[in-house]
Symmetry: C2
Subunit: 589 residues, 2 copies
């Protein structure tokens, strides 16, 4: 061992001990005859001090030290003259009796501090230096802690972690697969799993009634901000369960995480909300319920006053923004521009300012003060509140109003990242019609069971009927982010075959892609269901951050590149030949 202690552990109670530390030079300061070194490791920072009057040798060596040098320091733990109560080791320092440079360091391209001067690109390229910074260290520590708690909790209640393969069969449905050419099977390819969905269901068929796995998944999608081609899931499945059993089990897991990782205790059940309500009141399938400001449908209340915009609208919705009746013309114009951005997509914004001195709105021409007051009262607006109204096609404007609600919540500081508001959303539509390909897609995935009461409609051939079939599916939503999603699965091979039929697969195609699972269901499949949590996202929310990238040790950028490794990269033609493939990409050099 190069050290007797870490840089985070020595206290005043260790005074007088001779110790050896090893770590990185955070900084060196000279004060009179004294040289101070802040020595850093994963556990903290300890101050070292060398007195020029005592050892010339040590001080000569200190004068050669640069930032991020790796050193080994021996000395006596001593009470400090001027204590630093910002760090846990701040009451002591080490009076050096020995010093050794273990490795030199060239000057890093950015500062290794809580807040660095390095831009995103340079930090990505030198990820191993960025990872030395405290915020990233805290992020990875949190992630380790979360994973460990998940495993302990689930193992304690009888779940088995079972590893499923990463080299599987390509069955693209939804996102694209990454594929892996097989050298031993010319012309054939493995795929990397988008999730272990079929494997966990096979494990249920095999009788492993409580399975979980913290597992990597791969999706070759066009990367939007904060999406990674490889990401980690907490993947879970149970047999002989109904929806309530799954929700209660994983609500228990979430509560244990909140308590053990964040020290936050949830004694009440998490709220549960049908998808329909989520859309109606929050304009989103993942409502942020840290704040109210629920949406109100006022379509019927506003009709027949001769205002064509509202008379013709399929949907008119309103939110009450508390205490904002004093918004200026300029603020309201800015908000109007904001909702007209293509990302929101409204045609305009109607406001009603409910001031003590009276009601003022952008639709005074068509609606009397009494009309407006009636609306305000109906939707619970009080004096001092601002009412914002959007109108148009129902689904689109619900979503737009939901987006506006979130924006107003943010502007009013109602979305505090240290506040946690978990929520279950359930009863999603089973199918989504795609106009372009003229077929249904599974909203969740093709193994999700329709709700038993909707089975008649599921076997109907009418598009309207199929659109109304609800899935026995549920999402775990945290602070407006979908963190988990799952469902009760189909366990009847006939229902599964019908599902593939509804999705427009030919019998042959269904057999080729999913034959193994349709077949497995014939050998005694138990009723089962499960859930998968996005682990990267779960960690970032627990860390109070919006971005997942800091919670992944070696993430990729928006074009799927690891800029540190410079991957992906070209490979030798010989390597391709062995794999029976040829590149058709235009030559780059």
């Amino acid at each position: 061992m190069y050290r007797t202690h870490t840089c985070g552990e020595l206290r005043i109670s260790n005074a007088g001990q001779s110790v050896t530390l090893a770590g990185w030079v955070q900084r060196v300061r000279k004060m009179g005859s004294l040289n101070f070194i802040d020595l850093r490791d994963r556990y903290g920072i300890t101050q070292l001090v060398a007195d020029e009057n005592e050892s010339k040798e040590i001080n000569d060596l200190v004068s050669t030290l640069g930032r991020e040098y790796v050193i080994q320091a021996t000395g006596i733990v001593t009470e400090r003259q001027s204590k630093n109560n910002k760090i846990e080791t701040g009451e002591i320092e080490i009076k050096l009796t020995g010093l050794k440079v273990l490795n030199k360091a060239v000057t890093p391209p950015f500062t290794i501090e809580e807040n660095t001067d390095g831009g995103e690109d340079i930090r990505a390229q030198y990820r191993y230096l960025d990872l030395r910074r405290a915020p990233l260290k805290r992020a990875l520590e949190l992630r380790h802690r979360m994973a460990h708690e998940v495993r302990n909790y689930l193992s304690d209640i009888g779940f088995m972690e079972i590893e499923t393969p990463y080299l599987i069969k390509s069955t693209p449905e939804g996102a694209r697969d990454f594929v892996v050419p097989s050298r031993m099977n010319p012309g054939e390819f493995y795929a990397l799993p988008q999730s272990p969905q079929t494997f966990k269901q096979l494990l249920m068929v095999a009788g492993y009634d409580r399975y979980f796995q913290i597992v990597r998944c791969f999706r070759d999608e066009d990367l939007r901000a904060d999406r990674q081609p490889e990401f980690t899931q907490i993947d879970c499945e149970m047999s002989f369960v109904e929806r309530e059993d799954v929700l209660n089990t994983f609500e228990g897991l979430a509560k244990a995480l909140f308590k053990n990782v964040l020290g936050k205790e949830f004694t009440e059940p998490f709220p549960r909300m049908p998808y329909k309500d989520a859309m109606e009141y929050y304009g989103s399938d993942k409502p942020d319920i840290r704040f109210g400001m629920k949406m109100n449908t006022i379509t019927d209340m506003v009709k027949g006053r001769g205002f064509a915009v509202l008379d013709d609208a399929e949907y008119v919705g309103a939110i009450v923004v508390p205490g904002c009746a004093g918004y200026t013309r300029k603020q309201l114009d800015e908000l109007t521009e904001w909702v007209k951005r293509p990302q929101v997509g409204a045609k305009g914004l109607i406001y009603i300012k409910y001031n003590a001195e009276g009601i003022k709105s952008s639709i005074d021409k068509f609606y009397s003060a009494d009309d407006l007051k009636a609306i305000c009262e109906k939707i619970g607006a009080a004096e001092g509140d601002l009412v914002l109204v959007l109108s148009g096609a129902k689904r689109k404007m619900q979503t737009a109003l939901g987006t506006l609600r979130l924006e107003m919540g943010s502007r009013l500081g109602l979305r505090d990242n240290s506040v946690y508001a978990p929520l279950w959303v359930y009863d999603f539509p089973l199918l989504e019609w795609d106009d372009e390909t003229e077929r249904f897609y599974a909203m969740h995935h093709p193994f999700t069971a329709p709700k038993p009461e909707d089975l008649d409609k599921f076997y109907s051939n009418k598009k309207e009927d199929l659109e109304q079939v609800n899935a026995n599916a549920y999402d775990f939503v945290l602070n407006g982010t979908e963190v988990g999603g799952g469902s009760i699965r189909i366990h009847d091979s006939k229902v599964q075959e019908r599902m593939f039929e509804v999705l427009g697969f030919s019998k042959e195609d269904a057999e080729y892609r999913f034959g193994f699972i349709i077949n497995a269901f014939k050998y005694g499949a138990p009723p089962h269901g499960g859930i998968a949590f996005g682990f990267d996202r779960f960690c970032s929310l627990f860390g109070g951050q919006e971005t997942i990238r800091d919670y992944i040790a070696f993430p990729k950028n928006n074009t799927g590149r690891d800029v540190m490794l410079d991957a992906p990269s070209r490979i030798d033609v010989a390597q391709m030949d062995e794999l029976f493939i040829k590149s058709t990409a235009p030559e780059q050099e």
Copy 2:
């Protein structure tokens, strides 16, 4: 919930309770008016009983049940007439009051029993049915338990589990990489990691001084028996450590596993053996020390008696096979044929039978009884023992004699799989010369540090010097199987550059492949080292089995195929087009 209890939990103390179970029909038996059902789930088997005199409805349903039907059964826990002390629920049975078929099952293609009638191929195809069998369930339970113990042990002593990427850069050196074409970066490929070696070293540079990960690794090798293209490692790395620190830390882990998983306590330190001794005394770098029968070098003792075979031999070695002096001519002939098989590669076998009535050998013509007795005494053979001698080229015959030793150990029943003999082997050669490519290869991998005392030779340009450089490397060997391997790493970028030079990489090539790590070492790399354990193998040894396949939920066969999924498989040309690749494989249809 479809059940109140599992099929493994009810005892006589539950008698009188009304319970609901769910599971698979193991078998149905009729005895008089009684129908018995063995109901199975992951936890055990519980006997259900239906009396024809009580409910015709239930009995009619029972008569429709087939093997592996999934049923839900309600009834009263009752003390059995004839108890079965072979199963934990054997004192009770459930008198049925209700029965429901949850899912039918077609007859499985093999029996779901401890020992099945199914062959390997059919079981692989129906892996989900094979996984229902108790031996596989025990294997996966053991694996889950092992992983959980590893995580708890390492987390408790400050190790962080950090996930490293699976889509990395291809840097083949040794085994072939699996590659993944990138759609977003035309003509470029990711590789799947053969191990997270470089990442864990970068984590050390980043200051995460105790890292581990239970992680999948990928090697596109020609599969030998019991090798998988994807396999799992317990991957570990530590900073500020020397060899002893690493060995002590992971000896602690191994001891905890032995104790907590197998109930076997090791109070003494594990034996440690230099590679040189392992080769000399066991003819193997992974000695099975469950039994003695150590090899003896007798080259000098046998020279000069005019027997050219031994006079000319570079090496003559002998083992003492206890109590086998009575071997017959036929047995000895068979052994001689055995050592002459190409897998062993000896030219012949010399024996000395040390009988009470005198010494008899196959070389009586050249050696007197006194000569032979002297040899016997020198190597510790006693009356009743058989001495077996091989001679020839040193390394080859050491290995052959080691193989013979193992064979004799097996024949004498000295290799009991419930006995565990762990061992550390250390001080391996750093480099291996390959005559074909006329270059050195790293025996471990190119990041392994040479031993400090061999640095002069490491900088020599003489092949003989380089061949003598020892690596600061070590293996963890269990019962003759290498379960773990690691080393102290190079942490000086100059030494690392020299290593690439010794391996014959041009500066450009080293920079292109490993530039990121050479560069990282310039920014303050701490001294570090680590180890990786083959987790599949570790589990199978703990399970007392030779084959790893039962310890992997969904393994691949010897041609790298998953026969259940039928993967790898052909993919659409459109899919290939998107990835900028073309198949050059001959058309198969």
